[in-house]
Point group: C2
Chain length 128, copies 2
């Protein structure tokens, strides 16, 4: 837990495909000294992926499964959701960079992206 976060506003780390935060040279002077609008937008996308109880449970199930990977069929039942809905949520989590998708044969196995949640968590407590 190095927690290399500076006292400055959040610096995005890698580990997940992110838009490069450079190229904000001539921003129309929004609230400076704080999160820029573009950064906030990107961050909000991640948190939006966590802002649904079923997606949180998906992450929990995936992370606590024996092999740390789960297929869609293992999720539909405990969540009490239809298969298309589960697939939809999984896509959102993959797009947010939180889950990996590994299709082997007919089955698709999902696993946590290592460090993705920690990186997100680090942006929440920059000045511990």
């Amino acid at each position: 837990m190095p927690a290399p976060v500076a006292a400055e506003p959040i610096e995005h780390t890698s580990a997940v495909p992110l838009e490069k935060p450079d190229a904000l040279c001539c921003a129309p002077a929004p609230g400076q000294g704080s999160l820029l609008a573009a950064e906030a937008e990107t961050l909000a996308l991640r948190f939006k992926a966590l802002a649904d109880p079923n997606r949180l449970r998906i992450l929990s199930i995936v992370s606590s499964s024996p092999e740390a990977e789960t297929c869609v069929c293992d999720l539909s039942e405990p969540l009490n959701l239809g298969q298309p809905t589960v697939s939809h949520h999984l896509k959102i989590l993959v797009d947010a960079g939180l889950l990996n998708r590994d299709k082997r044969g007919v089955w698709a196995y999902y696993s946590l992206v290592p460090g993705a949640l920690d990186t997100l968590a680090a942006t929440m407590a920059p000045r511990v």
Copy 2:
């Protein structure tokens, strides 16, 4: 339905366990060994508060302000939002237990709830 959830400041000091808690005697067989539906609902409410770029910027501005507290009038301008909208976002953040509201005279000063973000972050990376 109105569903006025946060009638009370959620303190929730302990990190939400990703394991099975207690008292699941008669639950309709949810996913075992994972987040229960009720826990997921509560957690999702918090993340929902963070799932908006303007609310993230509010938190950033408040935390980086000199006195670590800000009044509504200081937020409306940098966010380019109307006063009712800012007030709306602030209410969501207060209800989520992330901001404190301190009304002194005509002005209302908002400040971070100490440890609230850290607690939330801890639920994302329980193995710190």
